[in-house]
């Protein structure tokens, strides 16, 4: 068996893991599975594309590739801007939609349904704005480097793995070492108690939306850079994201990342062993297995 599947799996897994960290955070604090989370990945990628395009238009120098990578300074700059914009998008959707359900104390499932409607609208809006034709951050081709052990990777891929690692470690430290991180965990365990312990629950909710959206944006840009940008980019990742969040245990940041890598590796293995057409079924199989054997996931609290 070709060991290259490990590299492919790690890359897919890093993207899934980053997205799943966002899902697990929003799920544990907002208490519903957000079917529109995938669209935050797609919007993140397209927003970065649009900003990068505008930057390239202003100054052609920004698109000149930074060796050894395939993209110019326009991409990292636009990524930062896109992260902010995706966060604002999530806050706007919350303000327009989910906040009123929270105020009314609507059933969880109503919010799930609203997220389902929002995902549909957001995705089709992307299709309307950018059409369903795939887009790319860069046209430059990269040669994969030999890493030893039969593994190959392009500089872009290695960089993205590094970015994912840094992002997850940062979020983990944020959750365990800072006031806002403790506040998020407190709200996730018991919002009423959190509020009488002096925590501004609404602020925590806004932070979580922003953080989840920011991670989604990073994952979307990664996926866009390493594969391609399509309006269905996030929707097609939604099942792996949910599977990873549940496998990792809802609320667990390291769990979501680890589960993302597991799912990515399983997908890559399945592609080699069974065929690429069955890739999407892998996360379903894993999801079913988790629900059967250990519904609270690897690191989840018993409910």
């Amino acid at each position: 068996m070709n060991p290259q599947f490990i590299m492919d799996g790690l890359i897919a897994g890093a993207i899934i893991g980053l997205g799943a960290v966002g899902v697990t955070l929003t799920y544990s604090i907002l208490r519903f599975s957000n079917f529109a989370h995938g669209e935050l990945l797609s919007w993140g990628a397209y927003l970065a594309l649009a900003v990068a395009g505008a930057l390239g238009f202003l100054s052609a120098g920004l698109t000149k590739p930074i060796a050894p990578f395939s993209f110019g300074w326009a991409l990292p700059i636009s990524a930062v801007i896109a992260i902010g914009l995706t966060g604002l998008l999530a806050l706007a959707v919350d303000a327009l939609l989910f906040s009123s359900f929270r105020r009314r104390g609507s059933a969880i499932i109503i919010m799930v349904m609203a997220s389902f409607g929002a995902s549909l609208a957001l995705r089709s809006l992307l299709e309307f704005l950018f059409t369903s034709k795939p887009a790319y951050f860069t046209k430059a081709l990269q040669i994969a480097m030999k890493l030893g052990g039969g593994l190959r990777a392009t500089p872009d891929q290695l960089l993205m793995l590094g970015v994912a690692l840094v992002a997850v470690v940062t979020v983990h430290l944020l959750m365990t070492r800072t006031d806002i991180g403790r506040a998020m965990r407190a709200v996730s365990e018991n919002p009423a108690l959190a509020s009488i312990a002096g925590i501004d629950v609404r602020r925590v909710i806004r932070t979580v939306w922003f953080l989840g959206a920011a991670l989604a944006c990073v994952a979307g840009i990664m996926s866009g850079l390493l594969i391609q940008i399509r309006p269905y980019l996030g929707h097609d990742l939604l099942l792996p994201l949910f599977a990873a969040a549940i496998l990792g245990g809802i609320g667990s940041v390291p769990g979501a990342m680890l589960a993302g890598l597991i799912i990515g590796l399983c997908e890559a293995l399945a592609v080699q062993a069974v065929g690429a057409e069955w890739r999407a079924a892998v996360s379903f199989v894993i999801l079913i297995a988790v629900l059967l054997v250990r519904p609270r996931g690897l690191f989840g609290k018993a409910s």
Binding site: R182, A186, N190, L193, I196, A197, G198, K301
Partner: protein
């Protein structure tokens, strides 16, 4: 009598607007008092204090803290204004450590003062200081109650409200908890206490208020209530003539 530190006027509250549980309560606590709220099950005691803390929607009436209207202030702002609340159950963050529970409690203080505040709590509750990295969920009932009270006292609140702090504790621990409350009150903190444990509560209270069906039914000094057989029989279930079947 000094000016009330905490008061409610015509307070109506409940989870459903059409079915209020608290149905018009005029109530006040003066600085330094230890007031105990008694009453039969379903009288609305718990809902009343939760409404004060901001956990139950208020449909009519007002409430004041230290001369300021706090009726529609959100719960976390009330904490900052000096109103501490200890719920009956789930009153600590079980998935977090003792230290983290307290770190959350002192988060309103400037960073430089937090360490000292936590140290002060640890010296006050030495049981908690022994292993600050223990998960709160692993603590015994009594220790949890200590942690919950410690959390509530972290900001030196002028008023602390406790919802049945003795529920589910062994008699020995109960008396420890009541001793602690007495000490807290002696330290100048105004205490409002909801209790089922009538005897122990009346023993430490400076005043008692009896709720029934969402309204104040009776008010008085603990000694008066304790010796009033009618009140005891109707509202407290503490039949003084032990032989008679309760009404």
């Amino acid at each position: 009598m000094t000016a009330p530190i905490l008061s409610t006027h015509g307070l109506v509250a409940g989870y459903e607007p059409d079915l209020p549980i608290v149905r018009g309560i005029d109530f006040s606590v003066s600085s330094g008092e230890l007031v105990v709220l008694l009453g039969p099950n379903g009288a609305g005691k718990s809902t009343f204090v939760k409404a004060i803390a901001g956990l139950v929607p208020i449909h009519a009436g007002t409430m004041m803290l230290n001369g300021r209207d706090i009726t529609h202030v959100s719960p976390h702002r009330k904490v900052a204004e000096g109103l501490a609340f200890v719920p009956q159950t789930e009153n600590v963050f079980a998935t977090m450590t003792i230290l983290e529970n307290l770190q959350i409690a002192v988060a309103h203080l400037p960073k430089a003062k937090r360490g000292a505040a936590i140290e002060a709590l640890f010296s006050r509750f030495p049981d908690l200081a022994a292993r600050p990295s223990r998960l709160a969920g692993a603590l015994s009932g009594g220790q949890r109650q200590m942690l919950a009270v410690a959390r509530a006292l972290a900001l030196d609140p002028p008023v602390i409200i406790l919802d049945e702090p003795s529920a589910g504790l062994s008699p020995k621990i109960v008396s420890e908890v009541f001793d602690m409350l007495k000490a807290i009150n002696a330290g100048g903190v105004t205490v409002l206490l909801v209790e089922q444990n009538v005897k122990a509560a009346l023993a430490i209270a400076s005043r008692a208020v009896i709720l029934a069906e969402g309204r104040i039914a009776h008010e008085g000094l603990p000694e008066e209530l304790a010796s009033d057989p009618l009140v005891g029989k109707i509202y407290l279930g503490t039949a003084h003539g032990h032989q008679g079947a309760p009404a």
